[in-house]
Symmetry: C2
Subunit: 297 residues, 2 copies
DNA sequence: GCATAGTGATGCAAAAAATGCAGCGCTTTG
DNA sequence: CAAAGCGCTGCATTTTTTGCATCACTATGC
């Protein structure tokens, strides 16, 4: 959109931190770019950049404007997608920020299912912890977030929530593998493989352990849920995961056993978007599909 | 904002229904305007106007775009007002759609109070019935709506609600003027002056009368709440109003008596804005003031 | 302590885009 | 069937934007 080029330029300057660098990205001369920024500030009624000896930085007014620009752009995208929808074409792009737990089974399955019906809809999936996910929504980096026990929820509008107990994950050959339920205390007798502290499951585990005066000392601490599963599968250790990230059928060599609710109540997996946003058609339809999938999981 | 001129042009064409008429409003030639519209449609990827023999009309895609344009413009206004706020200047403009009942005392008082603190904030007040008010929010004609018993509430995000019993309004010399409470049945013995059918108070009255098999036959039916008060004050009739529109001190010649709750439960006066909107600073601050005023009314 | 490389700003001429004018083809209206 | 109103378009003109060269300034490195 030619008339919104100035917004691209502002963002380019913001990203690169200097007019000259931004000029290259924008395929324009530094002088032209400089004058457009100046003209814009003149019209806007206030400066939006601080002029530092090393370049340009957004001032508070610029930060506010930047958010408007992003909102504006995303809303225009939504209009485009709705217009495409009018003419019967189902196009669009859905951007998802999600917890690692959704990657192995849940999201691939849901995305395939959706694209089977609407092959012209494309997806981006960004792995984010529960703090980053909300930030992603604020910057319009993602349309939807699917996270376990999100941290703030200030800008988060919940579309759906589903309860997830904490599951112990171990080799099918493990001594405890045939149990229907496990007490947390029993697990502590074995090597533990735990997700890093920024993850929701870990927080729940730490809290539970603290309640009976223990501190968890994992044999392996990792930020990869894949690693948790693999280490548990091939060693004698015990890992922890939430059900949505597990699949009995795919792993007959492993055993997944819920931790007794009196030890760890579990947490909520939330699907949501930025408060007050109107989602593009494609994102909204996909969100609806995910909601039913979560309900019958 | 020069780069958003095309939006003004689109709106001008939409308003006037033809390029040639819109060209005059825009201070531009019809040919130039025509080509800008065409260029925009080209870029946008689809036509936004239907070409009729008598002029131009927005097609569905155009309607969607128009809403985006309005949202975009209002959000930019909000940014401006927040930027002004940054530099310590409290500027802005607050647009209110409200019921007639708020006009005589409530809004003048609140607006004065607000402007005493921030004299550079200006206001527009549009009198709207409960159906129009919501429409006003959707078209961004107003930032805030303050209405009694709104009709749909689909696009309405409630900030505050306060209960309002229905009050009988009469001359201080009226036979019933000294009562502490009135049954609806008693009022029906006298000449009635009622607001027209689109108003919330009237709806409540009609419903209540219907419950004991009566149909209200007003001596005077009017769409002016002022008229209701004046007729009641100078005749022997009885009018009806909600408390927020009345002021004992200002009218010692009149008497305001609540109708028994078992006859008419009353209704809610709502303060709200368009669902999902971020209000400009000034509108938000004023809304907060109104909320406290309503709470202690 | 001074050269260097980086920054944003600006005057001026060239290039590009937008505009105004006049006129075409069309449809409805009286 | 003429008149009036509509959107559209070719062409000359005006306005705006751009690129180049250069200035003034400030950290950084030797």
């Amino acid at each position: 959109m030619r008339h919104l080029l100035i917004y691209d330029m502002i963002e380019a300057v913001h990203r690169s931190g200097s007019i000259r660098k931004a000029a290259e990205d924008t395929n324009i001369t530094a002088s032209a770019l400089n004058r457009r920024i100046q003209a814009f500030e003149e019209e806007f009624g206030s400066e939006i950049f601080e002029r530092l000896p090393r370049g340009m930085r957004l001032n508070p007014a610029g930060e506010l404007l930047l958010h408007h620009i992003r909102l504006q752009r995303q809303d225009l995208l939504r209009v485009h997608s709705q217009v495409a929808d009018l003419s019967g074409v189902r196009r669009g792009h859905v951007k998802i920020a999600c917890s690692q737990a959704l990657l192995p089974y849940f999201l691939p399955r849901e995305i395939s299912k959706y694209r089977a019906e609407f092959p012209d809809v494309t997806f981006s999936v960004n792995v984010r912890d529960r703090i980053q996910a909300e930030q992603d929504l604020v910057t319009f980096e993602s349309d939807l977030a699917l996270v376990f026990e999100p941290a703030h929820m200030v800008n988060f509008e919940v579309l759906h929530a589903v309860h997830q107990p904490v599951m112990a994950v171990m080799s099918a050959a493990h001594l405890l593998a045939d149990r229907k339920s496990l007490r947390l205390r029993e697990c502590l007798e074995y090597d533990l493989v735990l997700p890093a502290r920024q993850f929701g499951v870990r927080v729940l585990l730490d809290q539970a352990a603290a309640r009976f005066g223990r501190k968890l000392e994992p044999a392996l601490e990792t930020d990869s849920f894949d690693m948790v599963r693999h280490f548990a599968a091939y060693g004698h250790g015990i890992g922890f995961q939430i059900p949505v990230g597990l699949n009995d059928l795919a792993r007959p060599d492993m055993s997944f056993i819920p931790i007794a609710a009196r030890d760890i109540a579990g947490g909520e997996l939330y699907l949501g978007h930025l408060k007050g946003r109107t989602l593009p058609v494609a994102a909204l339809k996909f969100a609806n599909q995910v909601m039913t999938a979560l309900s019958y999981a």
